[in-house]
Subunit: 409 residues, 4 copies
Amino acid sequence: MSDIKKVVLAYSGGLDTSVILKWLQDTYQCEIVTFTADLGQGEELEPARAKALKFGIKPENIFIDDLREEFVRDFVFPMFRANTIYEGEYLLGTSIARPLIAKRQIEIARQTGADSVSHGATGKGNDQVRFELGYYSLEPSIKVIAPWREWDLLSREKLLAYAEQHGIPVEMKHKQGGAPYSMDANLLHISYEGRHLEDPKAEAEESMWRWTVSPEQAPDAPEYLDIEFERGDAVAINGKRYKAHEMLAELNKIGGKHGIGRLDLVENRYVGMKSRGCYETPGGTILLKAHRGIESITLDREVAHLKDDLMPRYASMIYNGYWWAPERVAIQTLIDHTQQSVSGFVRVKLYKGSATVVARDSVNTLFDQNIATFDDDGGAYNQADAGGFIKLNALRMRIAANARRKRGS
Amino acid sequence: MSDIKKVVLAYSGGLDTSVILKWLQDTYQCEIVTFTADLGQGEELEPARAKALKFGIKPENIFIDDLREEFVRDFVFPMFRANTIYEGEYLLGTSIARPLIAKRQIEIARQTGADSVSHGATGKGNDQVRFELGYYSLEPSIKVIAPWREWDLLSREKLLAYAEQHGIPVEMKHKQGGAPYSMDANLLHISYEGRHLEDPKAEAEESMWRWTVSPEQAPDAPEYLDIEFERGDAVAINGKRYKAHEMLAELNKIGGKHGIGRLDLVENRYVGMKSRGCYETPGGTILLKAHRGIESITLDREVAHLKDDLMPRYASMIYNGYWWAPERVAIQTLIDHTQQSVSGFVRVKLYKGSATVVARDSVNTLFDQNIATFDDDGGAYNQADAGGFIKLNALRMRIAANARRKRGS
Amino acid sequence: MSDIKKVVLAYSGGLDTSVILKWLQDTYQCEIVTFTADLGQGEELEPARAKALKFGIKPENIFIDDLREEFVRDFVFPMFRANTIYEGEYLLGTSIARPLIAKRQIEIARQTGADSVSHGATGKGNDQVRFELGYYSLEPSIKVIAPWREWDLLSREKLLAYAEQHGIPVEMKHKQGGAPYSMDANLLHISYEGRHLEDPKAEAEESMWRWTVSPEQAPDAPEYLDIEFERGDAVAINGKRYKAHEMLAELNKIGGKHGIGRLDLVENRYVGMKSRGCYETPGGTILLKAHRGIESITLDREVAHLKDDLMPRYASMIYNGYWWAPERVAIQTLIDHTQQSVSGFVRVKLYKGSATVVARDSVNTLFDQNIATFDDDGGAYNQADAGGFIKLNALRMRIAANARRKRGS
Amino acid sequence: MSDIKKVVLAYSGGLDTSVILKWLQDTYQCEIVTFTADLGQGEELEPARAKALKFGIKPENIFIDDLREEFVRDFVFPMFRANTIYEGEYLLGTSIARPLIAKRQIEIARQTGADSVSHGATGKGNDQVRFELGYYSLEPSIKVIAPWREWDLLSREKLLAYAEQHGIPVEMKHKQGGAPYSMDANLLHISYEGRHLEDPKAEAEESMWRWTVSPEQAPDAPEYLDIEFERGDAVAINGKRYKAHEMLAELNKIGGKHGIGRLDLVENRYVGMKSRGCYETPGGTILLKAHRGIESITLDREVAHLKDDLMPRYASMIYNGYWWAPERVAIQTLIDHTQQSVSGFVRVKLYKGSATVVARDSVNTLFDQNIATFDDDGGAYNQADAGGFIKLNALRMRIAANARRKRGS
């Protein structure tokens, strides 16, 4: 007899979470609340409602929320203010969505009086950690059910058998061929894992990629974008203003057309293993380049370097699921403080897989042409100062070399 | 009356250092030793000898050295073991050459009994610092003459006038049009500064770039390279072994053909100003991607993260000219230690400006397919362990949330 | 003929700055504004007014300000929120006062229409940097006169001779014996440099110390203080509230009585040399211990570690004079954010040179006795969770060990 | 029926591990190998042999090893080269012993053909992690039995009842009063947890401390030690050379006499909770001060700062149990590299709880009296250089201030 009364399940409407829904009902004899979020993954969400109803979920227990603006405005953009990249390459597309889903699940749990939450992430991955650290941080006494860590449906075959046995409709694609890629999509990216990607020396199939054309198929002419920033966030393209989620959608569309943002990576998971993933992040790839571009003329050198030094740590925090942890908030406070002057425009050239900054300008620019010039600067900068600068910076090394010499070593 | 007796001048044979040569003779009435290094900049060096002789330099005082192998083997490759990038973008092509030139100048000074060294870097740039920190570290009592900080030839016009007046031949290109780009080239890169690049919102002219075709002009078919690494260094391409400097030359040739490695950047100089530079680093761009690729399967996660955390600091050290400083050596000791297992191959796809890792393998691989698989792993990994892992990682946040709740905040 | 019209001089009224005052008048024929700050150094300031008048300074050009509260509230306390120590030992007593003096000098320059500022710091020390980085940051076009870097009075004898020659009264103590210690005092500390301290293997004389009794002379009974903190700042001792500067003065008095806060250190100056200094920081030493004590129960682990990781960098910023730099402000923003919950009390035991935390409590405590207990916790913590926690944290090392074994190495 | 055949138990001979021994025999019906290490904890070890024999352990399965020299030479001293302190206070006395015990247990397991190891650490503490990360790193397929995480003897009473029931002798002290302090001792320190220390606002009882007299009881006269270092390690006191473990023992004896090295701390455990511990580390406290003292004159500034920046991370690695992890080894490689010149002597004054450096000297000294002097240095240092040094360091801030002014903000 279970002490689980009511569970809020992160429910996509797909096969895996449908099996989970049924398994929760059977295993815990509990009431289920389904929560389906629109994060811009590009799928119809209403079918999830229909499926939930079929499983006997009460209409008032079915939550389908459009979280796209909140996602980009309050999660993606703050992260991009830090120029965050994990392990030199990964733009954290999956990582950044999990904290929002966790937060909304807890809100729904409070609203519906649920005592538990559940998700469809496996016991090997990072997502379970990201979900559950969120749950526990926001609601320390919540009960968490992670079916993949509890049940014995650990192979694709067993999962399909369970579905068939319990009358859960299995689409044709699942029955044929082997297991599908494990995919995750939201406005920032789409990811692929599994199948033959599990061999790091096997190249990804061209047919796998969904959001970007191959660079070879991209237009033969480059396209230029003027991206406008205000306090660290992109607000307009070529003079047209966009809300945060529209901005990212637009950059995805344009970037995808030019084959921008594909990544094939072996990364280190928080749970201790290496895994291979492929990612398409067209808009994010452009955004990162452009953001660095606007920072290059508006940020002080040492502030920029401080940000660069903190960045890998910040990226690990997000990757590992610590969005709701106090150290993450502390770093964000610093990051946001630095972005006050990060306004202006950046021109980016897009062409067959590349996004390149070619020009940038800002009313807050710290670039002083008068000083930087190779021409006569009229005394703005006294070159003789450099002599003293170098002498004192060299002093400790000169003293050391002299000391070595005296000791005869 | 000067106390300068004999000066070793870093002499390219070009206009600027020829004016310096003459100016040193006139100003200090001293003996001059010229030193011209082949770092793979792709220029004939023998003309420098002829010019030096014309200035009355004694044959035994003319040094022309091929430093290409030493440059790549002992400077470029060690730096790439650290995946070094300055300010998120710059591959440090100029920075990494200066310490070697400084070292060789000091060696020649000792050999020829010179008491002074001189260089042609201006008083506004980083190179003066890189040269002089090297000089002082290696020979603490050396005298340094930096003509640009001493003379009054601070405009292009004055420099040309001085040359004409002293019978220094000025090529046609210098007389026409405005000032040329300030350029620096070696096996790792070629850089451009000055002219209209001094306006960060003006796009670079296509005609400026020299080492790479524009991506638009690159071949319509991608090319794949299998790059072999041993202990962190690239040693073979498609099965053919190369010495260090040949490896970089070959990667430059191939990368240049595919339009790879252009960069347009506003960077922060050590002397305190922002400056805009354009860079072509075709081989280095490929090498960095490939090195990260081989590290992704051969390096432990925490070792990789430690390297990533130290990287910006290491990049600043090199950028600022501290190659010969003890803290640089200390970090290199750590970096080299980590590279013992970084051997294997990486497949890179080159296409119209992009270099992308698509496959990698190593006998030292830490990728364990058996554990990473989405299929049944036969017990290699116990998914239930993740529950405890998450619970304890969440504990401090749960305690905090409980404490907040008790306080009613 | 000088272009200096009016100079604001940081004027202590002592011999050195009196010589400077006279030298400025003679050298630049300019109007002088004297600025004398009360930072709690424990000296009468009115004599400085009398001396200034004697030099012909106009009454309206004599500024004597009590900056004690601003100093401790806006400089010392913010710094202590970061637990700042330079090179493992030094509490930055001199460093933290310079930015305030620089700021006030610039304010007075604006108010009086002065075009220049001047100070009495030598060309070998850190203080010149701290003053001048402040001046330039706050007023980029200010002219700075650093007499020690300009004049030829580089020995004690020459200085005294100049004073005698120009009718500047020299106290008996200056004439006798050798040079005095170079001292600096404010509410946070008093420092000593020079004389036989210039030999790092010579022990400081007992007679040198001024603020603390020797531990041997301290009371034979310990004293306990209950220090109350609010949001990171000490606000009360044994239940009695104090303003910031009174708090520090009180802690100095008590700490000095118990022989607390002496330090004898060889430190690395920003200008490149090592120097030996002795410091007395009685109140600060107690405060640092107590602040760490209250943080130990009110700060999250990872927030505390983030602070610890940033601390040496923050200490260097302050030591090197970058208080007014944007990177310093950025870090302070993070630090202050973390201090919201740092409230509560700490009991410190003072005895013959030691300050030891012996108890601490807070309404915001994150110490959960229920979980930490060695007794039965009634299920608050599930010990089995630790197994999974360890297993996953060990996973990468197990995989690596297995891989090594397979390769037979 | 268990698959455990033979277990190497870390056996102290005390009550807890005796209960574990019996419980392992009963629960797993397996052969037991006992391992008792002399780490300088100051207890007789032979009684452990007698007890083991009574439990039926075969003589060849009883291992009693003197690991004192290895412990100090290969673990304690390397750690002290890094000046390691956890959370600003804790000298890591327990943490540094665990990796050695784990290593030896694995060696014994290999030697005796055991398939399992076991320890007496609870499921709430750090030690379980330190032991088991060591086991798994060195022998990835070893089985680990952590009785405290498996059994139900979770209170003191149950443990005592089990002991009585199984004929395990319980000393009088255990029967009377409440639970004893949880203590751990080795040559570096002795620690206390539990009992009324579980209330962080309760002061520790004077009677608890064992290794140090109270400062009040310490001699009324200070004592001076001249400690000699070679390459970062202490090798002699007052001219007398000691082996590593004798050195630490001697420093403990002298430090304990002077009441040095007591610490009362609330720390953050790796498993997520705060806990309160008291520590006595007399020799280590002296050693840390002295090591910083010798580094202060022999280490380059930037090398010292690099070490300081890495130190908290290094301390966390050791605290959390990652001694055998590759990132720990990588940092140690850097640390050891820096210690080549860290030789010389330091004079430390010990008095009633304080250890203070009062003098230091080295043939490798980087302290240059000629440059540091306040007297005329005869041109060794050109004070005018400082002007350029400051100007260029201020440049970015002056440009920023000018830019703000132009924008009128």
